[in-house]
Symmetry: C2
Subunit: 201 residues, 2 copies
């Protein structure tokens, strides 16, 4: 009560363990289910809360905006689904990565993935788009590192450019053209990328 500690606000220590982690898990699970069932429109705080068995106020207190919440769930999913590949060749790694991507996009959550990613560019959630993309590229680091170490790629290649050329047609075919993405399509893309960027050997 003394006036000496009026200004003291000892920065509340976080408690991310146990219950909190479980609540987070349930929230993410609920969001993914809702995205599959009803798309973005279904992802209201109300729906998320009741589906996850969590209080609505908890969601608002964690983050008053629903977009960062949704992004968290998506990134969480993407990181769980994105297994690292090390086949020994860039071609093999890229093929595995794109097959993995195609599998995710072909699945029920595919459309929601790009809907969210695209929505991030509309200004609804400043900074979240970069967060998502950075998370994606970080997972691809080892693939490029290995290829460069083996001399398959020049060490100054534009990694984002290469991945954009590779993943672009995969995304597009599934989500704009609404066509299935099969192994043949993946192989076509891989051939183009390797033919253009891989050093001769």
């Amino acid at each position: 009560m003394s006036d000496t500690d009026v200004m003291e606000r000892p920065t509340p220590q976080k408690r991310p363990g146990g219950r909190t982690a479980e609540v987070t898990r349930r929230i993410h699970e609920a969001i993914l289910e809702l995205l599959v069932e009803g798309g973005i429109d279904a992802c209201t705080f109300q729906n998320i809360a009741s589906r996850a068995g969590v209080e609505r106020s908890t969601l608002y207190r964690r983050n008053p905006d629903r977009w960062p919440t949704i992004i968290d769930a998506i990134i969480d999913f993407a990181e769980r689904e994105t297994a690292p590949h090390d086949t020994g060749t860039f071609r093999g790694d890229l093929t595995a990565t794109l097959r993995n991507l195609a599998r995710a996009l072909n699945g029920p959550l595919g459309p929601a993935l790009i809907t969210v990613a695209a929505a991030l560019q509309t200004g609804v959630a400043p900074g979240q788009g970069e967060r998502f993309w950075a998370s994606r590229m970080e997972r691809l680091g080892p693939m490029f590192d290995g290829a460069i170490a083996r001399g398959e790629l020049r060490d100054n290649v534009d990694r984002e450019a290469i991945f954009s050329m590779a993943a672009g047609p995969i995304y597009f075919r599934r989500l704009i053209a609404a066509k299935p993405v099969g192994d043949d399509w993946v192989r076509l893309v891989v051939d183009e990328i390797c033919g253009r960027y891989c050093l001769e050997n």
Copy 2:
């Protein structure tokens, strides 16, 4: 009043002229503005109505679902922006088309375009995705027709596949990787496509 015409409901004749057309124009304009300013979340019937100076009930009566309404505005925009190109070569036409696409995507409405297109695949608006895509491909018909007629492409090429390979990286780079799409990027894509699909000459 006779019972002879009880079943007669002479399918009310439409009146698409004058006022109705003007209202449609204002609605589309309002939607595009809202998409630019606040993304999908801003496109509520309430916002659209007040922005367009139209009664909310009119929107509900025209279509109780907001997605077809939004798609209409997007398609309308896309068709207005998509000028036909006839440069005399497939490479020229494709370059012009992709530059056009890049320009649209680089603009303020770019992110909204793909957000909507992607949202269509989530089941929020059955059939609307196909409608959008069909509208897009239809505009590209002359380009392929001309190229085939000139012998630059085989007459059995998969037009959708080619356009997916071309437009995919454009979309991706702008809207997932959030990088600008410059002429250099367009040229890179064009080189790949032409190198792979154009017949030698």
